[in-house]
């Protein structure tokens, strides 16, 4: 009896561990799909205050906060939407508009998750460049004064 239990315990434990792992990984991924979509949508409407395809640090921080905390300016001690997710895991790529002179409105905003490990206890999965979301830029371009 003990032998059967010992054998089946490892089988069943492995089975449930696998389910937990997949379940958590899927949950985490799904949460991030929605978060990057919200981040890209937010970035596509926020007034763009840089003359190049490199966003200003204020712009970048607000977009990263939107993804990680669901809020562009979160309160101190806000909880990230996912355990372990930080603003450094959020990448923003600005697709420049046509023929680049200064003050060219961007064409699109792409927000993706970069270098993030989903830690589901029994193993880790590293995400690089996904999930990702792109929206056409529909905001206005503004520039610090002359």
């Amino acid at each position: 009896m003990m032998i059967e239990f010992a054998l089946s315990f490892f089988l069943i434990f492995g089975f449930f561990a696998g389910i937990f792992q997949f379940g958590y990984m899927f949950y985490a991924y799904n949460t991030m799909v929605n978060a990057v979509r919200d981040g890209a949508r937010y970035a596509s409407l926020k007034p763009y205050d840089s003359a190049t395809a490199t966003p200003s640090s204020d712009f970048l921080t607000a977009v990263q906060n939107q993804v990680v905390y669901g809020d562009p300016s979160p309160s101190d001690g806000a909880t990230p939407i996912l355990n372990g997710l930080t603003t450094s895991n959020v990448s923003l790529v600005v697709t420049p508009g046509t023929a680049g002179l200064a003050m060219t409105p961007p064409a699109a905003m792409t927000v993706s998750i970069t270098n993030f490990q989903i830690n589901s206890v029994f193993s880790t999965t590293t995400l690089n460049g996904r999930p990702s979301s792109t929206y056409p830029y529909t905001g206005v371009i503004v520039q610090p004064g002359p």
């Binding site: 997949f22 799904n30 799909v33 990057v36 890209a40 596509s44 046509t98 979301s133 792109t134």
Partner: protein, 375 residues
């Protein structure tokens, strides 16, 4: 011995039942998780594609073609949004277009959905339908065990709808000029503006407001005679430096609300001509003579396309009220600094759509638009 073999049978039955249950649990965790992710991913695709597409609608069949292309680009272009944990291209999708309701312009007229409208005028909404077939693993086994029939995939379909919705308050991006509508009563015909024709941004001095010294599209006569003599077409700040900032860097000083006042200010501020020239110089195509030529050339970066509040003139009851936001095209470099105290003209493109280089799709409600997702 007899009881031993009896319990052996129970173990077999228990194991079988347990396997069914466990496969079911695994199916819920793995397959359902995968289905939810696929759904989120193609919803993201459909939403983004609908926004890209709705941006292109300008009330013409050319706009419809651009809007269809925008959806294809969202599916297969360089920034294509994929599914199955961002590994597969979305291949099954369709797009239809609709008009807004006449009495509630931000709502879809659901009777007008059409994949290729015969008369695309006033089509401002886009609906993208996308579907993927998600393969099943554990659920397939579970289903076979329970139902003795096979199911090896599940379809997931979503709909994303976006549209050009009327702007109510515009806090940023307007230039400090406000053209007067030639025909305020004609709300279904761009308030009297004609696409491709030039209208006045800054008025000439009172003594020079004859037919020949204003811009080609302007109405004559009472259009000018009842304007306050100090007004020159600027609104917002009285500071010439602040107005320069508004022109060159889009630093709008105060919000404009449709139906609210456009606070006109006096002074001819001749130095703003060079500011407008500088603005034109920010464009990679500062030389094209007309908007049509500019778009055909395709080398511009859209800095010459500006948004201006349109007002109803010196109406006795509601003077200088914002009635729409129009998209205007600035004239070639050198025109404005050479204008002296005379008119600054700009070409009317159509209703303004924020983020678009084209006119909006709604001649029936020619206000400014912002593309939003429709729930």
């Amino acid at each position: 011995m007899a009881s031993r073999s009896k319990s052996k049978g129970y173990v077999l039955i228990g194991t079988c039942l347990g396997m069914v249950v466990m496969t079911g649990i695994a199916g819920v965790a793995v397959d359902l998780g995968r289905l939810y992710i696929a759904k989120s991913e193609i919803q993201s695709f459909a939403d983004s594609a609908a926004v890209s597409s709705a941006l292109e609608l300008d009330g013409t069949s050319v706009g419809i073609i651009r809007a269809q292309t925008a959806v294809t680009t969202a599916a297969t272009g360089p920034n294509a949004m994929k599914w199955d944990m961002a590994t597969k291209t979305v291949t099954s999708y369709s797009v239809v277009f609709a008009q807004g309701m006449t009495n509630s312009p931000n709502s879809v007229d659901t009777t007008s959905w059409s994949a290729n409208p015969a008369n695309p005028s006033n089509y401002r909404f886009t609906k993208v339908t996308a579907g993927v077939t998600v393969p099943l693993t554990f659920m397939q086994v579970f289903y076979a065990m329970v139902n003795r029939s096979s199911i090896n995939s599940q379809n997931v379909n979503v709909v994303g709808t976006a549209g050009q919705e009327l702007l109510q308050t515009v806090p940023e991006g307007l230039l400090p000029f406000s053209p007067i509508a030639p025909d305020v009563a004609n709300a279904n015909g761009h308030y009297g503006f004609t696409t491709g024709v030039q209208y006045t941004m800054r008025y000439p001095p009172p003594g020079q407001r004859g037919t020949n010294s204003v811009c080609p599209g302007d109405a004559a006569g009472s259009y000018w005679s009842n304007l306050p003599s100090s007004d020159r077409g600027y609104w917002g700040s009285t500071s010439a430096a602040a107005i320069r900032g508004e022109i060159i860097y889009d630093q709008q000083t105060q919000p404009i609300t449709i139906g609210g006042p456009v606070p006109m200010v006096g002074g001819q501020k001749t130095t703003e001509g060079s500011a407008l020239d500088q603005r034109v110089g920010e464009d990679s195509d500062p030389t094209s003579l007309t908007y049509a030529q500019y778009m055909l050339g395709g080398t511009g970066n859209y800095r010459r396309i500006v948004a201006l509040p349109i007002n109803n003139g010196n109406d006795p009851n509601t003077p200088f009220t914002a009635i729409a936001i129009g998209a205007f095209f600035l004239l070639p470099q050198g025109t404005y600094s050479a204008a002296g105290v005379g008119s600054y003209c700009a070409e009317y493109i159509g209703p303004f759509v924020q983020g678009s280089s084209h006119a909006g799709g709604g001649a029936a409600t020619p206000s400014g638009f912002l593309v939003r997702l429709v729930q």
